[in-house]
């Protein structure tokens, strides 16, 4: 455990996370006061002070949440760096499974980033308005998000303090190799690919024709299908090895860190698009810019994945 906690990446990660939580804790305390005393129709010293403070609080929260969004990249880099201390681990896939907290932590981190995006969109709408119409909503939302982030912070500590450097773990070659099982939902590679491209076309068409509910459902499905497509199909072209089915190895320098781009584009694109759709469905706010950015990110994701397959075929004349 000492080897883990004294690792420089872990120290930097936990310190950054602690700083982020400290900022959010201060914002949480002020949020309680804002929620209790806010009344925009008042012209009293208390209300003026709250209005000034609410702006400061939202700046603090936005800063902390942006920091949090970038910290997930550092988290992945950190667990990848820890693979040299954990027996059997060759990449982050082994380290994340070193104890029961790893996967929960990763999923919760991704979920909280998505919710952070939604909070920041509500906040942007609120400060653009003349009378802070979403002040109560965004304050309550932040408080719920804060509880989630506290749980995540607790999991961070539990995870890093419970990595056993004496116990061997199974890594990607065992987890994702042929022995470890195939594609879920009874799909094969061809069906998975058909679904992958069909869903992408459906997203582009529904966004273009402004069918928000179809966009939302297809985007959610694309997140799942996109993930499995990368792990079970496109990833094998990145590794140029049909049995190498790992979501983490592509984050290493052997593969030019392309995993950060692949996963960043998929999760970033899906989260931003869902965020923009939520704004349209619940707040009737059409953020064309956000939708365009998200769609372009997904387009780049599909192009990048497909590019690896095409380049492999051009170079070798066969598919894997």
């Amino acid at each position: 455990m000492d080897k883990i906690l004294l690792n420089s990446e872990v120290i930097i990660y936990l310190l950054s996370k602690s700083l982020m939580m400290l900022l959010l804790f201060v914002a949480f305390l002020y949020s309680v006061v804002i929620l209790k005393d806010w009344d925009f129709n008042q012209f009293t010293p208390k209300q003026f002070a709250l209005e000034n403070r609410s702006y400061l609080v939202s700046v603090i929260i936005v800063f902390a949440l942006i920091l949090k969004s970038f910290l997930i990249l550092y988290f992945v880099h950190t667990i990848d760096a820890l693979s040299e201390f954990v027996p059997g681990a060759m990449c982050a896939a082994g380290v994340i499974k070193a104890n029961i907290y790893g996967n929960y932590l990763l999923v919760l981190s991704l979920a909280s980033i998505f919710l952070s995006f939604v909070w920041m969109s509500i906040n942007a709408m609120d400060i653009k308005s003349l009378d802070y119409p979403y002040m109560r909503l965004k304050t309550i939302f932040f408080m719920i998000l804060f509880v989630l982030l506290v749980v995540e912070y607790g999991l961070d500590w539990l995870y890093f303090t419970h990595i056993d450097t004496q116990k061997a773990v199974s890594c990607c070659s065992v987890i994702y190799g042929k022995v470890g099982g195939g594609i879920p939902f009874g799909l094969d590679s061809v069906k998975l690919l058909v679904l992958f491209y069909l869903l992408f076309v459906l997203i582009v068409l529904s966004v273009w024709m402004r069918y928000v509910y179809i966009s939302a459902i297809s985007t959610l499905m694309f997140l799942v299908v996109g993930y499995y497509s990368v792990v079970y199909f496109f990833g094998t072209y990145i590794y140029e090895l049909p049995t190498h089915k790992c979501p983490f190895c592509m984050l290493q320098h052997y593969y030019h860190y392309v995993g950060y781009l692949v996963w960043g584009l998929l999760f970033g694109g899906v989260f931003l698009l869902l965020d923009s759709l939520i704004m349209q469905i619940f707040f009737k706010e059409k953020s064309i810019h956000l939708t365009k950015v998200a769609t372009v990110m997904l387009l780049l994701f599909v192009a990048l994945c497909s590019g690896y397959v095409m380049v492999y075929y051009i170079k070798n004349g066969v598919f894997l």
Partner: protein, 222 residues
């Protein structure tokens, strides 16, 4: 129209240095020239900064053309200042590294306006205040009176409905102060509200129609 209702402004609230700059200000100001008179530290500049949206009151309402600006979020307050307010500062606050023309152009930089259109506006206000001949000159080569005219042109270029001047003649000699008042007279003919905070007696000597408001220790006097 500018309305202030029960406006208070306290600096260093809840600290040992707590200081009431304005207390229970109730005012209605229509179009025309208004001169705020009072000694240094009486609250004139604070009142101007509240109307300009540079600062917010501790409590009370500041309403400009029906808009409660004391409640505006920062984003809207910037737009309010850009579109409605022209401010002439005591020390001019010009950008020394820029020319006269560029200083006057600066407030239009964030506005959705063609550059050719912006330059036409700049030419027009420079002529209005008589500074066209110094358009390409750097600010540091100007005299006090010329700097003042440049500052007025900058305040006017956005065609604001409210012009606020904080001690505009404090750094000018008598001749330039008189020129400034002449410019004020021409501005008064258009539908604007011009508020001047000053303790300069020169305004009493001039034939200038204006409403006078006296401020003493942060309170409106007679």
């Amino acid at each position: 129209m500018i309305q202030l209702e029960s406006v208070y402004k306290t600096y260093w609230q809840n600290k040992d240095e707590e200081f009431d700059a304005l207390s229970d200000i109730n005012l209605t100001i229509d179009e025309g020239i208004v001169v705020l008179k009072g000694i240094s530290g009486s609250g004139k500049s604070t009142l101007l900064s509240l109307i300009a949206g540079f600062d917010k009151p501790t409590s009370g309402k500041v309403i400009v053309d029906g808009m409660p600006i004391s409640k505006l979020p920062d984003l809207h307050l910037s737009a309010y200042r850009a579109n409605k307010i022209g401010f002439v500062f005591q020390h001019f606050n010009l950008i020394e590294s820029l020319s006269v023309e560029e200083n006057i152009l600066a407030p239009l930089a964030n506005q959705d306006i063609e550059i050719s259109q912006a330059k036409t506006k700049v030419q027009k206000v420079m002529q209005e205040v008589g500074i066209s001949h110094k358009a390409k000159q750097n600010i540091k080569n100007l005299s006090g009176g010329e700097k003042q005219r440049c500052a007025i042109a900058r305040a006017l270029v956005g065609e604001p409905s409210v012009i606020l001047c904080d001690e505009p003649t404090a750094n000018l000699d008598r001749e330039n102060s008189l020129k400034f008042i002449e410019i004020l007279k021409t501005l008064n003919s258009s539908n604007r509200t011009i508020i001047i905070a000053t303790h300069d007696p020169i305004f009493d000597d001039m034939r200038l129609e204006y409403q006078t408001i006296h401020i003493h220790s942060g309170k409106i006097g007679s």
